[in-house]
């Protein structure tokens, strides 16, 4: 059975269904992370003066800066993979998607080292309200990275991208949709980085 409006736009929305769907999903994601950012503000306001700055100083700014640059790079490689499909260059698409996966893996490895360094210094989510919200926010963000990697891997593997050969426009739209998700994950990190590490 053919899925309707995945290549042709609906007249009423002016969009393909998958794009409308991902934007509504992303709106719900804004509320999910928004609730946690709101909790961060609440906890910071209620904490003793200097408490958040004290615990924030335990975090590794150079590693987080590196991770920010890695995630920004992954956003560019993701959008370049979509542009490659638009230019009908499937080989370049595969290279850019592989680079996106590589960046995502580097991000998680760096995060692993950050977490384990904290654990070795006996710093856990239960250590302070700052650490509780730090591990919650970065942990949830990390889960989003893993979720994105699963879909990117699927679209990179031959069984996931075989639709390119029969319906290239449909496949290009799929890549655009995962791209929108991936840029959102990058967007969340752009705010997490200064809020947790710098201020």
């Amino acid at each position: 059975m053919e899925i309707p409006y995945i290549v042709d736009e609906r007249e009423d929305t002016g969009l393909i269904n998958s794009k409308l769907g991902i934007w509504i999903f992303l709106a719900s994601e804004v509320m999910l992370f928004g609730g946690l950012f709101s909790a961060y503000v609440f906890l910071r306001m209620a904490a003793p003066p200097g408490d958040f700055a004290h615990w924030g100083a335990e975090l590794n700014v150079p590693l987080a800066t590196l991770n920010t640059l890695v995630l920004i790079t992954s956003s560019v490689t993701m959008v370049m993979s979509w542009a490659s499909l638009k230019l009908k260059d499937f080989e370049k698409y595969k290279i850019y998607m592989a680079l996106t996966l590589l960046c995502a893996a580097i991000f998680l490895v760096v995060k692993y080292f950050e977490y384990t360094a904290k654990f070795h210094h006996d710093i856990f989510p239960s250590s302070s309200t700052f650490m509780a919200i730090y591990f919650t926010l970065t942990g949830l963000h990390g889960l989003h990275i893993i979720g994105g990697m699963i879909v990117i891997t699927y679209l990179w593997m031959p069984f996931g991208n075989k639709i390119w050969h029969t319906n290239p426009e449909h496949f290009t739209n799929r890549v655009e949709v995962i791209g929108l998700y991936w840029h959102f994950v990058d967007l969340v990190w752009i705010f997490l980085f200064p809020v947790l590490y710098l201020i």
Binding site: V41, M45, T73, A83, H183
Partner: protein, 100 residues
Amino acid sequence: MSDHDTVSIQEHIRVYLTVFGALAVLTVTTVLASYLDISTSEAIFLALVIASVKGSLVAGYFMHLISEKATITWILMMTALFFFVLMFLPLMSITDQVNI
């Protein structure tokens, strides 16, 4: 694909690379700004302004919001409204103190 489409995508690619450069520079800027000798509230304001500029670049160019359909703009305007409500909820704690 017509030659016009190809030129248009190649133009897009140039924009993506420019935005990438801007994001990298702004990332370094936000780290350097955190070492400035300013008050906490000024530091928070500065960090959030830079993060908002970076976020707008990602949303506008990588997510194509700058040229997206009105349906999505409306969804996001509603999202932004509820997001700001969420952000201002903690302020209620200032006006609703329980004295023990």
